[in-house]
Amino acid sequence: MVFSSLIFLYAFLPLSLLVYFCCRTQEGKNKSLLVFSLIFYAWGEPKFVLLLLLMSAFDWAMALRISREKQGSAGAKLCVALTCLVNLGLLIFFKYSSMLCSFFGDVPAFIQKIVLPLGISFYTFQLLTYVIDVYRGEAVAEKKYWHVLLYAALFHQCIAGPIVRYSSISEELFASRNEYADMPDGARRFALGLAKKVVLANTCGKLADQFLLADTAIADASALVSNLARIESTSVLGLWMGIICYTLQIYFDFSAYSDMAIGMGKMVGLHYMENFNFPYISRSVTEFWRRWHISLSTFFRDYVYIPLGGNRRGFARQLLNLFVVWALTGLWHGASLNFLCWGLYYFVFLVIEKLFLKRVLDKVPILSNLYLMIIVIFGWVLFRFTDMSYIPAVFKGLFGANGNGLTDFVSTVTLKSNMYFLAFSVLAATPFFRVIWGKIKNAGGRSRVLAGLFDVVDYAVLPILLVVISTALLVSEKFNPFLYFRF
């Protein structure tokens, strides 16, 4: 079940909220959250609920064990090492077996049959933060198993993030939380996220697929020749439109999911980490990664980069640490060579920026924005084509080296039929609307009437309009992938 599906919106969500608010105690409410989370997970992956239950049980027991050992003792170290081994071992088994085998020849049939359990990349990391934080003394080991399970399985963020650190949520989750203060913002945030996904991300996705092949087409090795011919015959405008739409789609898609998760959290008084902060307005790759998928980069910073020594052990060691982090970031996005290249591609730019470029970029505002966007857009070409044979043709085509015209019938008509939408989408990927709306509100001054009017727009007109439009589009179309489910 995805958040932007009708059955989630008009069956699961209302029912879960109804039951939640019918419970009187916080414990009861948490139990209702747990039950609905397990239903939510089982809806997509009936079998792998067991894996989630077992992994949580193992990590719960290990954390308890660690808390009984003296901090820093050999026993504690052994336990935390074992936890990492089991958790990461399972992740590697489910996600990377096939890729690892392919390095050593043919992939055995039983390995090919391995299915990636929904959200395993997310909840494995969440559980790891819990055990490691307990080991570091930054969190208290939870005595109740179902608490750990609730933390790992909570349907708001279990399957597509944000990756929430245990220590940042445990107090609200298990001690006490104020359920009402942020409820209106939660509702509004959810509606915005829903529309961002259904209106913006899905439409951009359709356009991207039209010019850059659908995922299924890219994965279909038997159709390589005809698909490649299609890419090679696409006009320059078509390819640019395709890759720009993909750039927009991937941001809208993933940030919309985070918006909806954060919104649902706020509806019940839980505050999750912000995951995106307008990454496309960045002026350097360094800044981009502070604004893009923040919860993932923070995870790698706190649990890989800094433990490896960060920048404290000389430049050569820092380079190595950065290399490891970016190779892992790339691979986390998928078990395929192109994702590794995509991660290392950013590593190269980050190092160059650290050496000298960042200082230059800081002095040239517009040019640095342009520089960043070009890197990001070309990066998404690497990211999109899991079959790397397409990549040279795409790059050649983007620069008109495939011998096609600048425009053709299909690209011209598609551009004309979507020009207002595309302009709106580009603006929506920046803080433009937020700033304008803020200015309008400020202009209203202290007038109580106007403040009331703005409230009506913020909490009534906007959410109702967005929910209704999203529903209409969801009923009209079936194209509704969540990109980050693959990871």
Partner: protein, 523 residues
């Protein structure tokens, strides 16, 4: 325990919120006019306040916060609740979509295996979405929103601009280059080399040799326009994309040539390939710009590959001469009976007979008709609704129909059906031959001479075959997608056929299903 909320804690929380420490959200906009400044008053309590009074005040403030939060959340949650209630008014849900002309998803049947692999739940999700209450109105709204995305008189559906093969120039006498089968590799059965048993010229009762029958799925695969067909919507008309596959054109030409060889000396073999409206109604330059395969070149290529005994009927020129008339439906991939008539006149020229004027026929009209392309209609680029004009042929004519699985013979022609069916259902095109059936037979009792023709067709042939009743006593209309009873030579011998006319649309010629079915029929 946790029922008694810690007021201090809550107030601290509220203070934190209103101080904006939480306002890192990318879409949050700070409300400048924040009413209810509760935390400030808490920070400096009135000096004379007793602890009890303070607690009461705090509780009051807490209630106010809750009330305000609920008030502001109400619009969203109410909307969610109202649509939820509407969505669960199950009797209001449709089971069939008239505009899309398909059955909507059904609630899945329960089975342990489907629950275990998750398909049960995903199908419930599909059912819920596909039959959503008031789906037509929701879709109208969705169409309206999508209409705001841009401004264009032309709409594209599907992936127009797929690469076609380059059409070889037919003048070249060299054998065509070896073409490769598009993937997935079609499983073709080689035509059998067994000599066909010679039977007497006169029609006799023979035992049919049933053809290798295919499962309905195999038969229907790629046999009709899929709803996702690539097309362009312009001025109320839908223009499907045209493609060219040399591999399939070669297969098709080989099939028809084999028929001519097989029936050499027994009957004439005509080949007429109905085109889609795109090739007939749009100028060549426009189609080139759109990246469509040019059907005039495809026709020339196919005819160059055909055995010289085949009478090839040009299906483009006669229709293009009348392209401003109502020869194709706006909302459907078929030609109209008028379009079929012009193709027939070209056949008549080729066959050396005088075509019977349409004035002799009785015209009828069935409306409204929304065809297979009608689902491409949007608020911005609406597709024109059609009328199906029928032409009832003059004379004492009877139509008999046999469906798949029933044996046919000259003594059993099946059940009788009115020549033109007055369709009450939306599927008005079924007025012709009452839809697609394995074998239809027209008998014209006004004809003295015992003549017979066989039309091997897909659905384009349905309005087309009516005109043959004026030239033959028996018109056998065989739908090669449903007929598996006899081989072609057996049929010709059994029924004493004088002329065979292939009428297979260009769309199906370019595919696997048509060619493998023709391959198994023509023997």
């Amino acid at each position: 325990m946790s029922d008694e909320l810690d007021i201090e804690e809550i107030l601290r929380e509220v203070k934190r919120m209103s101080a904006g420490s939480d306002d890192t959200g990318e879409v949050q906009v700070k409300t400048p006019a924040e009413p209810a400044p509760a935390p400030e008053s808490q920070a400096e309590p009135a000096p004379a306040e007793s602890p009890r009074a303070a607690r009461r005040r705090q509780e009051r403030e807490q209630r106010q916060i809750k009330k305000r939060a609920l008030l502001r959340s109400a619009p969203f949650f109410t909307t969610l609740a109202i649509i939820t209630v509407i969505a669960w008014l199950l009797p209001l849900r449709d089971t069939v979509s008239e505009t899309e002309r398909r059955e909507l998803e059904k609630f899945p049947a329960f089975s342990l295996s489907s629950v275990a692999n998750g398909s049960y739940f995903s199908q419930i999700g599909n059912w819920f979405a596909d039959t959503f209450t008031f789906r037509e109105s929701w879709m109208d709204l969705g169409g309206f929103v999508e209409g705001l995305y841009g401004h264009s008189d032309i709409a594209i559906t599907g992936s127009v601009g797929q690469s076609s093969d380059v059409i070889p120039t037919p003048q070249v006498t060299a054998p065509p280059a070896e073409t490769t089968a598009p993937s997935p590799t079609p499983a073709l059965t080689e035509p059998s080399d067994e000599p066909v048993t010679e039977t007497e010229e006169a029609p006799v009762e023979t035992t049919p040799e049933p053809l290798p029958s295919l499962s309905p799925e195999e038969v229907l695969q790629g046999m009709e326009y899929s709803a996702d067909a690539s097309a362009i919507v312009m001025n109320g008309d839908v223009y499907p994309a045209t493609v060219f596959s040399q591999y399939y054109c070669d297969l098709y030409a080989a099939n028809i040539s084999r028929a001519a060889e097989l029936l050499d000396g027994k009957c004439r073999v005509f080949d007429l390939i109905p085109l889609r409206c795109t090739s007939v109604k749009l100028d060549k330059s426009v189609r080139e710009y759109m990246g469509f395969a040019l059907d005039e070149d495809v026709l020339a290529y196919i005819s160059s590959q055909l055995d010289e005994r085949v009478y090839f009927v040009d299906s483009l020129t006669p229709l293009a001469a009348h392209k401003d008339e109502y020869i194709y439906f706006h909302s459907d991939h078929h030609w109209t009976a008028l379009g079929a008539y012009y193709a027939y006149t070209e056949w008549a020229k080729e066959a050396g007979v005088e075509p019977v004027s349409l004035d002799e026929y009785t015209e009828g009209a069935l409306e409204p008709y929304t065809g297979t392309f009608y689902h491409n209609s949007t608020k911005k680029n609406p597709v024109t609704v059609d009328t199906v004009y029928t032409y009832d042929p003059p004379g004492d004519i009877h139509l008999y129909i046999i469906d798949s699985g029933t044996g046919d013979s000259p003594s059993y022609r099946g059940f009788e059906q009115s020549v033109v069916t007055q369709m009450a259902t939306p599927e008005k095109y079924s007025a012709f031959l009452a839809g697609d059936h394995a074998l239809c037979t027209f008998v014209n009792n006004d004809m003295e001479e015992e003549s017979a023709c066989l039309i091997i067709k897909d659905s384009y042939g349905n309005p087309f075959c009516y005109y043959y009743t004026q030239h033959y006593k028996y018109v056998y209309v065989l739908d090669y997608r449903y007929y598996f009873n006899r081989s072609l030579s057996n049929f010709v011998d059994t029924y004493g056929v004088d002329d065979v006319i292939f009428c297979t649309s260009m769309f199906l010629v370019q595919g696997e299903g048509c060619n493998s079915l023709l391959n198994s029929l023509i023997r």
